[in-house]
Assembly symmetry: C2
Homo-oligomer: 124 residues x 2
Amino acid sequence: MAVDPLSRVFSALADPTRRDMVARLAAGDATLFELAAPYGVSVQAVSKHLRVLEDAGLVSRSKDAQRRPAHLEAETLDLATTWLERYRREAEERYRRLDQLLRRLPDDIAPMPPQEPTTEGARS
Amino acid sequence: MAVDPLSRVFSALADPTRRDMVARLAAGDATLFELAAPYGVSVQAVSKHLRVLEDAGLVSRSKDAQRRPAHLEAETLDLATTWLERYRREAEERYRRLDQLLRRLPDDIAPMPPQEPTTEGARS
DNA sequence: TGGTTGCTCAACCGATCGGTTGAGCAAGGA
DNA sequence: TCCTTGCTCAACCGATCGGTTGAGCAACCA
C-alpha cells in the first residue's frame, strides 16, 4: 500500500489485459460488461483490473443509474511519458557529448576502438 | 514466462529502485557494486533488479575483466513512450471531435449539461 | 412486487515478486 | 600460490497478483 503514483501507473500498464482496456477506453467510455466481453475471464476479474487502473488515476468512473461507465484519464499517461522522456533525453545527450569528445580528441590518444591495451595511453 | 516485451518494460519500470537505477544509468554506466551502494539492500537483490532490467532490454552488460558494467539501452524506453503517446493522442483527438460536435449542435437539442431527465429528447 | 441487470465484496488458490542468507566461482593482485 | 574482488546461483520466506467462485446489493423493468 501507499506506493508512489509513478509505480502505480507503470505497474497498472504492465498487464496486457489492462493495456488493452486502456486502448479501448481511448476510443470511448465503456461499462464493465462491455469491457469484459472480449476477454475469457470473469467480470469480477475485469472489475479488479478496472480498480487497479482507477487507483493509478488512469480511469475515472461516473454514476449513471446502476451503470458505472469507465472513462480514460489520458493526462495521467503524461506522468509516465514525462519520466521516460526525461531519461531518454539525458542518456541521448550524454552519448552526443561523448561522441563529440571522442571526435575532438587527438588521434594519438584515442585513435580507434580499443584493439589491444598497449599501455600507450598511461599518463597518470 | 514468455511475456510480451511491452509488459516486461512496464513492469521493470514499476519498481522505484529499478527506476532509480535507470535514472542513474542515464548519467553513465555503472557496476553492480556502484549501483548497489545507495540502497539498503544486498547486492544479490540489486543483481536481481539488474536482471529484470536486462530481460526487459533496458540495460545491456559488457564483460570488462571480472566487472560487468551495466549500460542503459535508452532506445528501449521509446517502446513504452510510443505506446503511451499513441493512446494519449487517440483520446485527445476524440475529446476534440466531441467538443466540436457539441459546439456545432443547435441549442434546442444539446442546450447545456443535463440538469434533469425531462423526457423532452425522447425521439425513439 | 418480484425478477433482472450491473456491479462489488470476501474468501480462497497458485504463481510471481522482492527480499534474505549461504555457497561458489572466475579473474586479478600480493 | 593464496586472498580479495565482483558477481551469480540456489533455496527459502512473506506479500502481492491475477484469477476463481459465491454471495449480496442497489437500481431499473414488468
